[in-house]
C-alpha cells in the first residue's frame, strides 16, 4: 500500500543518459550501421560477390583486406553483400512471428472460453517439435524460397511469443481499467487494442532481440544444410558454414560474417532492452 502511493507521489524524472541510455545510443548506432551495410554494402563492394579473385583461403593482404574464401572469392565483398538476405529474411520472419504470436496470445489470454485451451493446446503441439526439425519439414515440403523460409521460422517461433503474451494478458485482464472498459461495454477488439495490448508491450519488446537472433540462426542453419538459400548467394549464415573448413587458412572468412551476425543480434538486444526500460517505468507499478 505504502509503496503504491510512494510511487505515485512524484513524477519520475527521466534518467539522464546513464548506463542504459548509453546502451540505447550504442544499439541504435550499431543497428543503423548494419542496416546501412545491408542496403548499401553491394555498392561499396570492391569485387563481385561471386567472382573468384585469387587462390582459396588466402589470408588478408592489400588487395583483399579480409582475404579470400574457400572458393577464392573476396570475403569483404561477400560480407558487404551478405547482410541483405540475413537482415530482411530475419526481420520479416520476426515480424510475422510477433504478428501471429501476439494475436494468438491476446485472444487466448483475454477470451476465457473454450477458445483458450483450443489455441494453447495447438500451440503446445507445435512447441513439442524440435525447432529445426519442424523447419526442415516445412522447407522440404514447400521448397527453400524466401517466403517459405520466413513462414517456416514464424511457425517455429510464434508459439513462444503466444505463451508470453497470453501470460501477460491474463494478468492485465484483471486490472481495474480493463474491468472498467468491460463494464462500459467496449468491444473486445477495442479492449484488446486500447487497454491490454499497450500494457503487454513490455514483455514483447524484451523478448524481441532474442527472437530475432533465433530467426537468423534458424535461417542460417537451413542455409547451412543446403535447403534454403542456395550458393553462390552471399549470406552471413551461409558464409560461416561454407568456410568452416578453411578456418586455419583464413579465419577472417569465418570470423567476419560471424562478427556481423553477433553485432546485429547485440544491437537489436540493446535497443530492445532500452525500450523496455522506457516502457517499464510507465507500466506495472508493484
Amino acid at each position: 500500500m505504502a509503496t503504491a502511493i510512494a510511487h505515485g507521489r512524484k513524477p519520475r524524472r527521466r534518467q539522464s543518459l546513464g548506463f542504459y541510455g548509453a546502451g540505447l545510443v550504442v544499439g541504435v548506432v550499431l543497428l543503423v550501421l548494419l542496416v546501412g551495410v545491408a542496403i548499401f554494402g553491394p555498392l561499396l563492394a570492391p569485387h563481385s560477390s561471386i567472382q573468384t579473385i585469387g587462390v582459396p583461403a588466402k589470408p588478408p593482404d592489400g588487395s583483399s583486406p579480409l582475404g579470400t574464401d574457400f572458393l577464392g572469392r573476396d570475403v569483404l565483398s561477400r560480407v558487404l553483400c551478405g547482410g541483405r538476405s540475413t537482415l530482411f529474411l530475419g526481420g520479416a520472419a520476426t515480424l510475422l512471428t510477433y504478428l501471429l504470436g501476439t494475436s494468438v496470445g491476446l485472444i487466448a489470454g483475454y477470451v476465457r472460453t473454450a477458445v483458450d485451451p483450443l489455441l494453447m493446446r495447438s500451440v503446445d503441439v507445435l512447441l513439442a517439435f524440435p525447432a529445426l526439425l519442424l523447419m526442415l519439414l516445412f522447407v522440404t515440403a514447400f521448397g527453400g524460397s524466401a517466403a517459405v523460409l520466413v513462414g517456416g521460422v514464424a511457425l517455429v517461433l510464434f508459439p513462444g511469443v503466444a505463451r508470453i503474451v497470453r501470460t501477460a494478458t491474463l494478468e492485465i485482464s484483471t486490472r481495474g481499467y480493463v474491468e472498467a472498459a468491460v463494464a462500459r461495454g467496449e468491444t473486445t477488439l477495442a479492449i484488446l487494442r486500447r487497454e491490454v495490448f499497450p500494457n503487454v508491450l513490455g514483455p514483447i519488446v524484451a523478448d524481441l532481440g532474442v527472437r530475432f537472433g533465433w530467426s537468423i540462426i534458424l535461417i542460417a542453419s537451413v542455409n547451412y544444410l543446403g535447403l534454403g538459400l542456395q550458393p553462390p548467394t552471399a549470406d552471413w549464415g551461409l558464409m560461416i558454414s561454407e568456410n568452416r573448413d578453411i578456418i586455419s587458412g583464413n579465419p577472417a572468412a569465418l570470423l567476419a560474417p560471424a562478427a556481423m551476425l553477433a553485432l546485429l543480434v547485440i544491437s537489436v538486444n540493446l535497443v530492445g532492452d532500452a525500450l523496455v526500460r522506457r516502457l517499464g517505468t510507465s507500466g506495472d507499478q508493484r
Binding site: M1, A6, K10, E179, A180, R184, R194, S282, Q285
Partner: protein, 610 residues
C-alpha cells in the same frame, strides 16, 4: 525524563540524505525507555520507516545516513559496523508484510532455530523454538513447528515474525505497520499480544503506523512526523486529546471513528515531497494559522509542558478538535417522503466455478439504494463484498436473484445490458495503482466513458473532462499527465471522475480509500458527500473499515461468508449491534474516541511501571 525506568534507546541527530541531494529525514531524535511503546506516526513519505531503519544502520542504496549518537542498552553504536552487529541482538525489526518476510521454503521451527543459533551458538539451548512460539501465543507443539509459512494465517505469520524479533531478547523492537494487512479481529489480538509482551519482557517498542486509532490503543508516547522531521512528540493522551501542532490536529480531525458520526475536517493541500521542502516550516503552505515567520525560519521542537514538545511558533493558537455526539442519538435521515430507490438487489447469489464444485461467495443478499443515498457493505476479506459489487456492475455472472435499476431488471452481464443501463452504473476500484491504464493520460481515461456511453464528440468530451476534474477538485493540467505522475489520492480522484463522466445514478466504490493516507481519505470522503448532494448520485460503498462507514453511509450491511448477518441504519448497527459477529467486529475495531474516553475516566494513560 531521567531516573527509572532504564533508557533502552537514544538516537540523536539522525539524518538521511538522498545521494542526489535532498533530505529524507532531518535531525530526528528518538528516545525509548524500557517497557515503553512509542508510536511513530506519519503519512507516506514522511520518513518514518527511514527513521526506523537508520537505527539499524540500514538504508536504501540511494540514501546516505549520518547521526550524532545511537545508544541502545548503554552500548554506544558509533559506526556502521557496530550498528550491523547490534541487529537482532539489541534491536530487531518486525516488517509490514509477514508473508514476504518469512522464507517460504523453510519450516517455522527451523527458521526460529536459525535465529537462536545465529545469536548464541548451537551449544546454548536455553531458549527453544517451542518456547518462542509459546511466548507469542502460538501452539508450541511439534506439528505446528513443522508447518511452512503458507500454511499459516496472516495473523499467525505476523506472530512468528514477532517471535523471531524477540528471539535474542533485544532491548528494542521496531514494528513497521505490523497490522496493516490484517483484519480487525486479528489486529486486535496482535495489539494486545504486543502490550502483554512489553509488560512481561520489559521490551521497548517503536511502533510505526499511519493509523491514529491503532496507536491510541497501545502507545505510551507518540511522535508525529511530517516531511522528514518530528513535529510533535509527547504522551499519547496529550497528543491525541489536545494536539498542538496544526498537522497533528489535522490528522486527528481527519481520522474517522465508528463510534462518532462526525464530519471529517480535511487538511488543505498535499504533503510535500522529498526534494521540494521549503525553507521554513514544511507545513506552512497548508497551515491555517501560518504567519510570515513560518515561511522563512524553521521552528524548534520546543517543550510546552513536561514531555510534550511541538515544532510550531503558534502552537498556542491551535484550536481544539470538535468531537461530535456519539452515534446513538443521531436523528438523520430526515423523515420526509423517502426518495425513490434507484438500485434494488434482490436475493443475489454469486458463485465461483472451480473444478468439480461451485463455490458460493454470496447468498441471498438483498438491499436497496435510494437516490443520493449511501449503503455500505462491510466485511472482512473473503466475505464476498467485492464479488457483490462486481455482480452489480455486470462483471461477474449473477447465479440467482435479481438486480433492478429503476423499474427494470438488469441482464446479468455487462455485455448483455444496453448502453443506457451501463451508463447508469459505474464502478471505482480499490487499488489506485491498477485502476488507471498506465498508457493513457488522465484526460483520455476520463473522456472515454463520455464518448462511449454518451456518444459525445472529442471536443465535447474535452470540455466535460475539464468540468469533471473541477468536480473532483483536481487542478487543470492533470488531464495531460500519466497515472505514474499522479499520487495515490490523485489517481483515485481521476478514477472517480471517470465514473462520473457517464453521469451515473449509482457508483460502486470498492474499498476506494483503503490504500490512501487518512488526510487524503478524508478529502475523498468529503468529495463523495458533495457529489451525492449536488448530483444525487447514489453510492454502494464497500469497505472493511467500520470507521469510514460511520462517516459516509446511512445504511450498512454486515457480511460474513457471503451472507448478510446484520443490516440497518448505521447508527443502529454500529451503535447497538444485535448480531454477535457485528459486535465482535466493533469491539475489535480501534477507536480514537474510545481511547480518549478511557483516558478521561482514568486521568491519563497507564504510567510506566518500573
Amino acid at each position: 525524563m531521567n531516573g527509572s525506568p532504564a533508557q533502552a534507546l537514544r538516537a540523536r541527530g539522525l539524518h538521511a540524505d538522498l545521494l542526489s541531494g535532498g533530505a529524507v529525514i532531518e535531525d530526528v531524535d528518538v528516545e525509548l525507555r524500557a517497557g515503553e511503546i512509542l508510536g511513530l506516526v506519519g503519512e507516506s513519505g514522511s520518513g518514518k520507516t527511514t527513521t526506523a531503519l537508520s537505527m539499524f544502520g540500514y538504508h536504501e542504496r540511494a540514501v546516505k545516513i549520518r547521526f550524532a549518537e545511537i545508544t541502545i542498552s548503554n552500548e554506544h553504536l558509533t559506526d556502521q559496523k557496530l550498528l550491523s552487529k547490534a541487529r537482532g541482538r539489541l534491536i530487531s525489526y518486525v516488517p509490514q508484510n509477514p508473508g514476504a518476510a518469512l522464507n517460504p521454503s523453510m519450516r517455522i521451527a527451523d527458521g526460529l532455530r536459525d535465529i537462536i543459533e545465529a545469536h548464541r551458538g548451537p551449544a546454548d539451548g536455553s531458549t527453544t523454538a517451542a518456547e518462542m512460539l509459546e511466548r507469542v501465543g502460538l501452539p508450541a507443539d511439534r506439528e505446528f513447528g513443522r508447518r511452512f509459512p503458507h500454511q499459516l494465517s496472516g495473523g499467525q505469520q505476523q506472530r512468528v515474525c514477532i517471535a523471531m524479533a524477540l528471539a535474542a531478547h533485544p532491548a528494542v523492537v521496531v514494528l513497521d505497520e505490523p497490522t496493516t494487512g490484517l483484519d480487525v479481529v486479528t489486529q486486535d489480538r496482535i495489539l494486545s499480544e504486543l502490550v502483554r509482551l512489553r509488560d512481561e519482557q520489559g521490551v521497548a517498542m517503536l511502533y510505526i503506523t499511519h493509523d491514529l486509532a491503532v496507536v491510541s490503543t497501545i502507545a505510551n508516547r507518540i511522535a508525529v512526523m511530517y516531511a522528514g522531521r518530528i513535529v510533535e512528540e509527547g504522551p499519547a493522551d496529550q497528543i491525541l486529546r489536545r494536539p498542538r501542532h496544526p498537522y497533528t490536529r489535522g490528522l486527528v480531525a481527519s481520522t474517522p471513528d465508528h463510534r462518532r458520526s462526525r464530519a471529517l475536517e480535511s487538511m488543505a493541500g498535499t504533503a510535500v515531497g522529498v526534494g521540494d521542502r521549503p525553507e521554513g516550516c514544511a507545513f506552512a503552505a497548508r497551515c491555517p494559522q501560518v504567519r510570515s515567520t513560518c515561511r522563512t525560519s524553521l521552528p524548534e521542537l520546543a517543550e510546552i509542558s513536561p514531555g510534550h514538545a511541538v515544532r510550531c511558533f503558534e502552537s498556542a493558537r491551535t484550536p481544539l478538535v470538535a468531537w461530535a455526539e456519539s452515534l446513538k442519538p443521531r436523528d438523520v435521515p430526515p423523515a420526509e417522503v423517502p426518495p425513490a430507490e434507484v438500485l434494488q438487489v434482490e436475493r443475489l447469489r454469486a458463485e465461483f466455478k472451480s473444478r468439480g464444485s461451485d463455490l458460493v461467495v454470496a447468498r441471498d443478499v438483498s438491499f436497496a439504494v435510494p437516490r443520493g443515498g449511501c449503503v455500505a457493505l462491510v466485511g472482512e476479506s473473503g466475505s464476498g463484498k467485492t464479488t457483490i459489487a462486481r455482480v452489480i456492475a455486470g462483471l461477474h455472472p449473477l447465479s440467482a436473484g435479481r438486480i433492478r435499476l429503476g423499474d427494470v431488471a438488469l441482464p446479468s452481464l455487462a455485455r448483455h445490458r444496453v448502453t443506457e443501463q451501463r451508463r447508469r452504473i459505474q464502478i471505482v476500484f480499490q487499488n489506485p495503482a491498477e485502476a488507471l491504464n498506465p498508457r493513457h493520460t488522465a484526460g483520455d481515461a476520463i473522456a472515454r466513458p463520455a464518448r462511449i456511453l454518451l456518444g459525445q464528440s472529442r471536443a465535447d468530451s474535452r470540455q466535460r473532462t475539464r468540468e469533471l476534474l473541477d468536480a473532483v477538485r483536481l487542478p487543470a493540467g492533470i488531464e495531460r499527465r500519466y497515472p505514474r505522475e499522479l499520487s495515490g489520492g490523485e489517481r483515485q480522484r481521476v478514477a472517480l471522475a471517470r465514473a462520473l463522466a457517464a453521469g451515473p445514478d449509482v457508483i460502486l466504490c470498492d474499498e476506494i480509500t483503503s490504500a490512501l493516507d487518512v488526510s487524503v481519505q478524508s478529502v475523498v470522503l468529503e468529495l463523495l458527500r458533495d457529489l451525492r448532494q449536488d448530483l444525487g448520485v447514489a453510492l454502494v460503498f464497500i469497505t472493511h473499515d467500520l470507521a469510514v462507514t460511520a462517516t459516509i453511509a446511512e445504511r450498512v450491511l454486515v457480511l460474513r461468508d457471503g451472507v448478510i448477518c446484520e443490516q440497518g441504519p448505521v447508527s443502529e448497527v454500529l451503535g447497538s449491534p444485535r448480531d454477535d459477529y457485528t459486535r465482535r467486529l466493533l469491539d475489535a475495531a480501534p477507536s480514537l474516541s474510545a481511547s480518549i474516553e478511557a483516558w478521561e475516566r482514568a486521568g491519563g494513560p497507564p504510567a510506566l511501571s518500573d
